[in-house]
């Protein structure tokens, strides 16, 4: 819990700082503290792609090691595909061509995911343990999750007659059994770690505090988009590693929440207003008719339909 406590104490120190999340998001983050999470440490990653290989094998993605290890530098989330759930991005700098740094792209397993809140049928949902998984039995293929996801993660099988939404599910089945995700188990340098979100957040804070000149002082995923279950620390600014740095600190569901909450008010308000308007217009035409011929309106009981 140390990490969460640390985060909230920072937030309390400067309560009006717009670079810190609001109360609702902190509350949700506190609730997610015990969920399964992952931590990626870019400074430990050597770019070996063992995680990609393990993921490919675990999820039967059907790619050969040759295809995976073939040199193809990728910089952002575009490299994800129906048969690529995770990807190590490669970055070099002209000023210092002898070094390289790596980023990791896969589903961030947000605390309150945009895809889950947008899916009309709960085909995408967040399990109790934390992974965000897809249920093909009820998915309509509307692709709203893809429109909503700020990390551009869900992939669609465009060439398929029965297309699926494909993305990392944090090896939800292994997690149920208490085992680590395949990519974490495969990582030879421990750049990937698994644990509860609180444990990993505390670990990330500890690493930054212990080696303040080695790390950028930011935990990617601590607050982004309301916080994610996949946390990242790095030795280079995250935007240089292919990460989006323009994300809001609130959950994406907040953008549709007010409109959705207005529904019953619209129904009730319209119901009252329309009935009242009808009453008024009826009274008005009744009065007009009474004025016209001195009698009340025509009282034909069956609407004059049946002579």
């Amino acid at each position: 819990m140390a990490g969460v406590a640390g985060a909230s104490s920072v937030a309390e120190a400067t309560p009006r700082d717009p670079s810190l999340p609001g109360a609702a998001d902190r509350q949700r983050a506190a609730e997610a503290a015990g969920q399964r999470a992952m931590l990626f440490d870019s400074t430990l990653c050597v770019g070996c792609r063992s995680c990609e290989l393990a993921c490919n094998k675990k999820n039967d993605l059907g790619r050969t090691p040759d295809v995976i290890f073939e040199g193809r530098p990728a910089e952002d989330a575009r490299a994800l595909a129906p048969d690529v759930y995770t990807y190590v991005t490669f970055h070099q700098w002209e000023a210092d061509p002898s070094t390289a740094a790596f980023g990791k792209v896969q589903c961030m397993h947000c605390i309150e995911p945009a895809c889950v809140s947008s899916c009309p049928v709960h085909a995408l949902h967040k399990t109790e343990l934390g992974p965000v998984v897809w249920n093909g039995d009820i998915c309509l293929g509307c692709r709203y999750c893809m429109m909503a996801c700020p990390f551009l993660v869900p992939r669609f099988e465009w060439e398929s007659r029965n297309p699926a939404i494909r993305k990392c599910n944090m090896c939800a089945d292994l997690q149920e059994k208490g085992e680590p995700p395949a990519c974490v188990a495969a990582c030879p340098t421990k750049a990937l770690r698994t644990g509860t979100r609180a444990e990993l957040l505390a670990e990330a804070h500890r690493r930054i505090e212990n080696r303040p000149r080695r790390y950028v002082h930011h935990i990617y995923g601590e607050f982004e988009a309301g916080g994610t279950n996949f946390l990242h620390v790095a030795g280079r600014p995250f935007d240089e590693l292919g990460y989006r740095r323009d994300l809001p600190l609130q959950s994406y569901r907040d953008y549709t929440r007010p409109a959705m909450a207005a529904i019953p008010w619209v129904l009730g308000g319209l119901g009252l207003a329309l009935g009242a308007a009808r009453w008024v217009s009826d009274r008005r035409s009744a009065v007009a008719e009474a004025g016209e011929d001195g009698t009340a309106h025509d009282d034909t009981a069956d609407g004059g339909r049946n002579p």
Partner: protein, 444 residues
């Protein structure tokens, strides 16, 4: 007019062109289901929505707004003189929704799962709201149009049964809808009670009761339409791919206002087109009256549209970039043109005046909706999306089929009053003066 003469659908050049376009569309749709969405679209993982969402769904649903706008004007606001326009408007709306559902089936990756939205409820999802609004409002439109069909077939008994049952169907529907949207028993009970109170007031004679078009049915149509039109805007609130000229927290309101604006414009276009095709006199005086209201509706939308941009401080975006800026100015220019045309009495008097102004309005709306669904979307990581020719042809094909269906329906069904078969004298009165045939006493 003899039924035989009414039933014949002449194979004119227009009809055969539509049939060919429809056939091309259907062929491409068959190929899409064989080879997948990627084979006929330029959609990608960065631009998962495109031309179909823009045209078939955002535009299609907006153009069907004539149904609830006219029905509300006639049956709620007491604009009984517009009654002759209400059936064609409802028919257009109904056909529009059927087309929309058909087009949606083409766009969905797994359309066979569509009914599962009835069972798996996600109260947080605007798409859930959209899917329920589509299903329920289509049903409401079918109920609203049913009398025309029953009249044509002469099923008097069934028509009477429809009159008795419809209000309760509506109450049941809206109650279920409220529960699905809110998951709150309090709201559900509240809405159900309110509806039952209105119906009770009408059954006890405290309010006028219109047996031929139950008020609750009209109310349900307006309530569901309001939610549906606005929820299409809500859909885009969660995406951060939409540019500042289109993305605004009040997008749902803008979608509703522009739908209300385009509804009467569609009615004008339909009425003048049908008058030409069916060679009957158009409802000129009524259309002129609609035309006089139009400037207010369009200006309302424009004021909200522009003041929202002022409030968000993005006015200078209209000068930046090429396509988004051009597209935005095109929307505003078309709508201003429409206002000018509608507001000029001299133009309204010309036979081409009202249709031209209405088309300008429709074009403005199309530009706005396509702006939201295609032009305004920007995912820098991916190459820009430009619709595939097959996407366009499929939409053209579906619209052609819809026009054929409308042509067939107005030929067969008593849609336009000048076209209706001679009815018994009482019924003729009922058609000409619907306000005089309201049953104001309790049937009991």
């Amino acid at each position: 007019m003899k039924p035989a003469a009414v039933l014949r659908l002449p194979v004119t050049r227009g009809v055969s062109v539509l049939a060919v376009l429809g056939a091309i569309g259907l062929g491409l749709i068959a190929y899409r289901f064989y080879a997948g969405l990627g084979a006929v679209t330029n959609l990608s993982d960065g631009y998962p929505w495109g031309f179909w969402i823009g045209m078939d769904i955002l535009v299609g649903i907006a153009l069907a707004a004539g149904g609830f706008v006219i029905a509300g004007t006639v049956h709620i606001l007491g604009g009984h003189r517009f009654h002759p326009l209400s059936r064609p408007a409802i028919l257009t709306a109904f056909l529009g929704y059927c087309l929309f559902i058909f087009a949606l089936m083409v766009d969905l990756g797994r359309p066979w799962n569509i009914w599962k939205a009835l069972i798996n409820w996600n109260h947080a999802s605007p798409m859930f709201e959209v899917s329920w609004c589509v299903m329920f409002y289509t049903f409401v439109l079918a109920l609203e149009f049913a009398p025309a069909v029953l009249e044509r077939l002469g099923f008097t008994r069934l028509l009477k049964w429809w009159e008795d049952v419809t209000p309760f169907l509506v109450v049941a529907m809206l109650t279920l809808f409220t529960f699905a949207m809110t998951d709150s028993l309090a709201w559900t009970a509240g809405i159900a009670t309110m509806l039952l109170v209105w119906e009770g007031l009408m059954r006890t004679g405290l309010m006028r009761r219109d047996r031929q078009m139950p008020v609750l049915l009209i109310m349900a149509g307006i309530m569901l339409s309001t939610l549906h039109q606005s929820s299409l805007g809500t859909l885009f609130l969660i995406t951060d791919k939409l540019g500042p000229l289109w993305y605004t927290p009040i997008l749902p309101l803008l979608f509703l206002l522009s739908a209300v604006m385009v509804g009467p414009a569609m009615v004008i276009v339909e009425a003048t087109l049908s008058a030409r095709v069916l060679r009957h006199k158009s409802e000129g005086r009524l259309l002129n009256a609609l035309g006089r209201v139009m400037p207010y509706l369009i200006v309302t939308y424009l004021v909200v549209r522009v003041s929202d941009m002022l409030g968000r401080g993005v006015v200078l975006e209209t000068m930046r970039g090429f396509w988004p800026a051009v597209w935005w100015w095109l929307e505003i220019a078309l709508l201003l043109t429409a206002v000018a045309l509608f507001a000029t009495a001299e133009v309204r008097r010309r036979p081409w005046g009202l249709p031209l102004a209405a088309w300008a309005t429709i074009a403005g709306l199309v530009v706005q909706r396509v702006g939201v669904a295609v032009v305004g979307l920007d995912v820098p990581e991916y190459p820009r999306y430009v619709p595939h020719v097959a996407e366009v042809l499929i939409t053209v094909g579906i619209v052609s089929l819809g026009l054929l269906a409308f042509r067939f329906a107005v030929a067969v069904l008593p849609v336009y009053e000048t076209h209706r078969a001679p009815a018994p004298p009482d019924a003729a009165v009922a058609i000409a003066h619907p306000d005089r045939t309201l049953a104001s006493v309790s049937p009991a």
